[in-house]
C-alpha cells in the first residue's frame, strides 16, 4: 500500500505541475478530507448497528451454531479456521450480503469478519495479514454481486430496450473474475513459498 499511495500522490503532484492545476489540486485535498469525514460518519452508524446485532448473535450462541451450519460452504477455501469459530458466520453473512447487493450490510459484516479473523492471528503476528484475511479481501474486491440493481435502474431510466440484458454477462464476468482472483492469490502463495 505504501508504494501505491506514494505513486498515486507523486503522479498527481507531477500532473498538477504539468497542467498548472495547483488550484484544483488544493481544492481536491480539502474535498477529500470532507468526504473522508462524511463516509466515516456514515460508516459509524452502520458499523455500530451491525456490531450490535452480531453481538446479540454471539451472546445467544447462535453465531457458533450458524458457523457449524455454514462450515461446509466455505471450508474448502478457508482451511485454517477452527470449527464453530464466529468468523465462519461473519464471512458467510458478508458474502451473502455482497451476492444480494446489500452494501449497507456487507461492509460492516466484512469489518466484523476481519475482527474475527484477527482474533485467530497469534499476538506477535497482529501487524501481519493472514492468508485467510487475504482470501477474504480478494473475494470482496473482485465483487460477487449477482444482480447490479443500480445499473439496471439507470439503464431503464434512460430508456433502454432491455435493461436486464446485462444481467447474464454481469453474472458470467463476476464468476470468472472471482475465480481468477482466487487462483492468482493461490498462485502467489505457491511462489512465495518457493522463494522463501
Amino acid at each position: 500500500m505504501n508504494i501505491i499511495w506514494f505513486l498515486l500522490i507523486a503522479v498527481s503532484v507531477a500532473f498538477s505541475v504539468i497542467n498548472g492545476r495547483f488550484d484544483d489540486f488544493t481544492k481536491a485535498m480539502f474535498e477529500a478530507s470532507k468526504s473522508a469525514v462524511e463516509v466515516s460518519i456514515y460508516l459509524l452508524g452502520i458499523v455500530s448497528l451491525w456490531l450490535g446485532l452480531t453481538k446479540i448473535l454471539e451472546d445467544s450462541g447462535l453465531i457458533y451454531k450458524l458457523s457449524h451450519f455454514f462450515k461446509p460452504l466455505i471450508s474448502r477455501l478457508f482451511k485454517n479456521i477452527p470449527d464453530d469459530h464466529p468468523s465462519i458466520t461473519s464471512i458467510t453473512l458478508n458474502l451473502l450480503a455482497n451476492i444480494f447487493g446489500l452494501g449497507n450490510a456487507a461492509t460492516p459484516l466484512g469489518i466484523r469478519a476481519m475482527k474475527d479473523l484477527q482474533s485467530l492471528n497469534p499476538p506477535e503476528e497482529k501487524d501481519n495479514i493472514s492468508f485467510e484475511m487475504m482470501l477474504f479481501i480478494v473475494i470482496n474486491t473482485s465483487s460477487i454481486q449477482l444482480i447490479p440493481f443500480t445499473v439496471i435502474g439507470l439503464l431503464a431510466n434512460y430508456g433502454s430496450q432491455a435493461p436486464s440484458a446485462i444481467v447474464l454477462p454481469t453474472i458470467v464476468a463476476t464468476l470468472i473474475s472471482t475465480a481468477v482472483a482466487i487462483t492468482v492469490l493461490f498462485a502467489f502463495r505457491k511462489i512465495s513459498k518457493w522463494t522463501s
Binding site: 498527481s12 469525514v37 476481519m114 487475504m134 440493481f149 439503464l155 463476476t174
Partner: protein
Amino acid sequence: MDLLNYFSQALIPVFILFTVAYGLFKKVRLYDSFVSGAKDGIDVIIKIFPYILAIFLAIKTFQASGAYDSMKAMLAWLSPIFNIPVDVFSIAIIKPLSGSAALGIFTDIVKTTGPDSMASRISAVIIGSAETTFYVLAVYLGAVGIKKTKYLVPVCLIADIFGIITAIAVVKLIF
C-alpha cells in the same frame, strides 16, 4: 427478477427478526447486548478514519490534477485495435478507485451514447463485476490495523485488470 429484488430486500428484516427472536428464546438481555456490541463501532471508525482519508486524498488529487485524463488518453490507442469504445477506459480506470465517480461517468456514457450502445453495456458490466478495490483495502485493513499486507495488493491489482478484460470479452461475445 422482481422476485429476486423482493427476496434481497426481505433478507435483512428476516435476519434481524430471527436474531432477536432467538436471543429472546435464549433469554439474552437483548438491549444490553446490542448496546455493548454497538459501542465497539466507534473504536473501529477511529481506527479506519485515517486510512480512508489517505486513500481519498490520493484518489481525489489523482482526478483533479489531470492524471486521470492523461491515463485515459494513454489507453485510448488500444481502442481501435481491439474495437472497444473509448469511453470504456474511463470506467475501467475509475471503478477500482471510486464507486460514486464510476456511477457518474457511467451516467454520462449512457446519456451520450444511448442505453443500448456497446459502450453502455460494457461499462454496465464492468461496474457490476468490479469493486472499489482501494476503498475496500483501506477499510478492511484499517479496521484491524494490519500493516504488512504481503502480496495482497499486487494480487488485487492483477485480479482487477483480469476482471476488466473479462467484462469486455464477455459483453463482446454475448452481444
